[in-house]
């Protein structure tokens, strides 16, 4: 049958399918899902990874010149087989498909349409769901955030469908043996390190079949794959000079932990604006800023930092002496700010007086509980393409106060407010660092040169949103914002001032950033304020996770990720 329809020398897509003893019915469904594509711009490159059962061999004897089959004489593993398929490919892009999974009919056509909107797309990923192992019905949708380099470093959350420019895949060395089981994570990292643009298509275009041996059903079924994942990330860290050591997270399969391994320890200036407020904490009246500074000095292990306290006109004369005593041997400086209260201006003044290469803004109602908190923040803040970095903030009772800021309908808000501190988040989002729209200035680290470049905090936001504005300015200047959910800081929020926000400040924020706030790139448009739409979808635009996730999970909707920032 001659059905080659594309007009140029090669199709847009080469679908790569390594085959290893699949259920024949599933393989048939897989191949048919490609043949049913709404676009004709594809070829199917199948590699039989060693001898296959007779039923499978018969299925591979296809009479379709869009489909080519290569038979390896011996089994070489999924990386080697996929690499052979890459060598067969002629398309502009490769698309990866496992031999028992299926594509939505419109998958390739939709991706082609999205790619056509740009001239520099090198990598694409889409949303996905699962196929029930016995009934084949569609279940467990995963609505992904936009692209997040920080999350990808710790979790192969891109999953399926992934599409990569073929020349880029070849240029980075294709699929490497030795990483079987995490070969797609390996390729994704190596390709995206060089990609010009990564595109997320928030539509369920791939159906991943659950089976007893697949990680789709049992995350413990492929321990070897997770071990390969650690090697993949270690390799990425080495290539990119990221100062960390990778290890496997024992609680959450598929998550890679990163432990800082800093080469340098640049000086940090911790800037603490304060009015010297007191509050009852755990039944005891405490001077909040004294508690904050004492905890910094007592808990922190970072070897090179100073504290700059900006005292506003409410603070009394005896405060510096008390705070100097609380700081102990840590260098501490005081700056008087007698102007009407303006949080942004106070932070700027403290930054100006500090000497550190890294600025760390810390509210006076925080409490440090984690020894390596500064090391973790510096690990991210000193990356050339990261601007502001924040931490997971916890209320005194242990619930989450902040895990990054997102925006819904133009209204920025903290994610995961009120969740337990150890809540994993949507598909373990809170076990990783990730990119997000903004982080709270209650604990925000940024290199001084980047802070200066964007003009520091905007004093037009004296009370609220100055942190959101700062992060968006940094983002506009090419720096990703990240929240490291492994770093935890206690925040007795709004103890020092009224927590309410003013409409006029929000109006000012929208005047600068309205379009971004109306369409948070780290969110997933399938979700609504009340959860999600209908699932299984009647079209790829409509979805509903409510029947498939615990109430808390779908409410969480944790998506971080950068839209235009690509390099790690």
């Amino acid at each position: 049958m001659s059905t080659t329809l594309w007009s140029g020398d090669a199709p847009i897509f080469s679908v790569l399918v390594p085959v290893w003893h699949p259920d024949p019915h599933h393989l048939l469904a897989c191949v048919e899902s490609v043949r049913s594509q709404t676009t004709a711009e594809w070829e199917l490159c199948i590699v039989a990874d060693g001898p296959q059962p007779p039923e499978v061999e018969r299925l591979l004897d296809l009479d379709d010149d869009r489909i080519r089959v290569h038979r390896r004489p011996v089994n070489g593993g999924i990386a080697a087989a996929t690499d052979d398929a890459l060598a067969m490919a002629r398309g502009e892009f490769i698309a990866l498909l496992d031999n028992d999974d299926t594509l939505a009919d419109e998958a390739l056509g939709t991706v082609a349409w999205e790619i056509a909107g740009y001239d520099d797309v090198d990598f694409v990923f889409t949303d996905e769901d699962h196929l029930h192992p016995t009934t084949g019905e569609r279940i467990n949708p995963f609505y992904k955030p936009g692209f997040s380099m920080e999350r990808l470093r710790q979790q192969m959350y891109l999953g399926h469908l992934i599409v990569c420019r073929r020349t880029l895949a070849v240029e980075v060395g294709g699929f490497r043996p030795g990483f079987d089981g995490s070969q797609d994570h390996d390729l994704a990292l190596r390709a995206i390190e060089r990609a010009r643009r990564v595109l997320h298509v928030p539509k369920l275009l791939y159906h991943w079949r659950e089976s007893p041996t697949s990680t789709a059903l049992d995350s413990g079924a492929k321990d070897w794959a997770y071990e390969a994942g650690v090697r993949v990330v270690a390799s990425h860290l080495e290539r990119t000079g990221f100062p960390a050591v990778a290890s496997r997270n024992r609680d959450w399969p598929g998550i890679i932990d990163l432990e800082p391994d800093l080469v340098d320890h640049p000086e940090i200036s911790i800037v603490v604006p304060t009015g010297g407020a007191c509050r009852v904490v755990a039944g005891v009246e405490v001077l909040l800023v004294e508690q904050a500074i004492r905890s910094v000095a007592a808990v922190s292990t970072y070897p090179n930092y100073e504290i700059v306290v900006v005292l506003d006109r409410r603070s009394d004369e005896g405060l510096p002496a008390r705070l100097a005593a609380a700081a102990g041997p840590v260098p501490i400086h005081f700056v008087g700010d007698h102007r009407p209260f303006n949080f942004a201006a106070a932070c700027n003044l403290g930054a100006i007086r500090g000497r550190g290469e890294v600025l760390l803004f810390l509210n006076d109602d925080t409490e440090i509980v984690m020894p390596g908190w500064m090391e973790r923040l510096v690990m991210y803040a000193t990356r050339p393409d990261i601007g502001a970095v924040g931490a997971k903030m916890l209320y005194g009772d242990g619930r989450i106060q902040h895990a990054g800021t997102w925006s819904r309908y133009g209204n920025p808000a903290h994610r995961y407010v009120g969740y337990p501190a150890d809540h994993p988040g949507y598909l373990a989002a809170l076990a990783t660092a990730q990119n997000c729209l903004a982080v709270t200035a209650a604990c925000l680290a940024v290199e001084r040169r980047k802070f200066d470049q964007v003009g520091g905090f905007a004093t037009m936001f004296p009370l609220a949103y100055n942190d959101v504005d700062l992060c968006l300015k940094l983002s506009r200047s090419g720096y990703r914002t990240a929240v490291d959910c492994v770093t935890q800081v206690v925040h007795h929020e709004s103890s020092s001032r009224d927590p309410s926000v003013e409409d006029w400040e929000l109006d000012q924020l929208l005047g600068r950033w309205g379009p971004i706030l109306a369409a948070d790139p780290y969110d997933n448009p399938n979700h609504t304020a009340d959860g999600v739409e209908e699932y299984p979808p009647t079209s790829t635009f409509l979805v509903d996770v409510r029947d498939h996730f615990a109430e808390a999970d779908f409410r969480a909707r944790a998506w971080p990720a950068p839209h235009a920032h690509l390099r790690g």
Binding site: N348, G455, G456, T459, K473, P515
Partner: protein
């Protein structure tokens, strides 16, 4: 031998007022510099928002213009159907005038 910290403090004491004033001036200038950079980036961002709004309005206007043209064509066709021997052009324009004015008003 270099002066000790206390010797240095003693030597600077008579000038402390001037030093404080100088420090305040430096602080002020540094803050002004930050504010100027912020204003520049903020203005760019606001310009981006304004341009997006203009593009949106242009698109809206374009759609409305096409709708008006379609309506005009329909009106002309209906007029021709009703009147196989049409009036002079001026008379047609007089008859269509109020209708056109209403359609134009809808688009503004």
């Amino acid at each position: 031998m270099p002066p000790t910290t206390s010797e240095r403090s003693a030597a600077l004491a008579p000038h402390q007022g001037g030093l404080d004033q100088l420090q305040a001036r430096v602080d002020h200038l540094a803050q002004q510099l930050l504010q100027a950079r912020d204003a520049a980036i903020g203005a760019e961002a606001e310009l981006g928002v304004a341009r997006a709004r203009v593009a949106e309005l242009e698109q809206h206007l374009h759609v409305r213009t096409v709708e008006v043209e379609e309506l005009q064509q329909k009106v002309l066709a209906l007029t021709a159907d009703d009147d196989p021997a049409p009036d002079r052009p001026g008379a047609v324009a007089r008859r269509l005038g109020p209708l056109m004015a209403r359609t134009a008003k809808r688009t503004t």
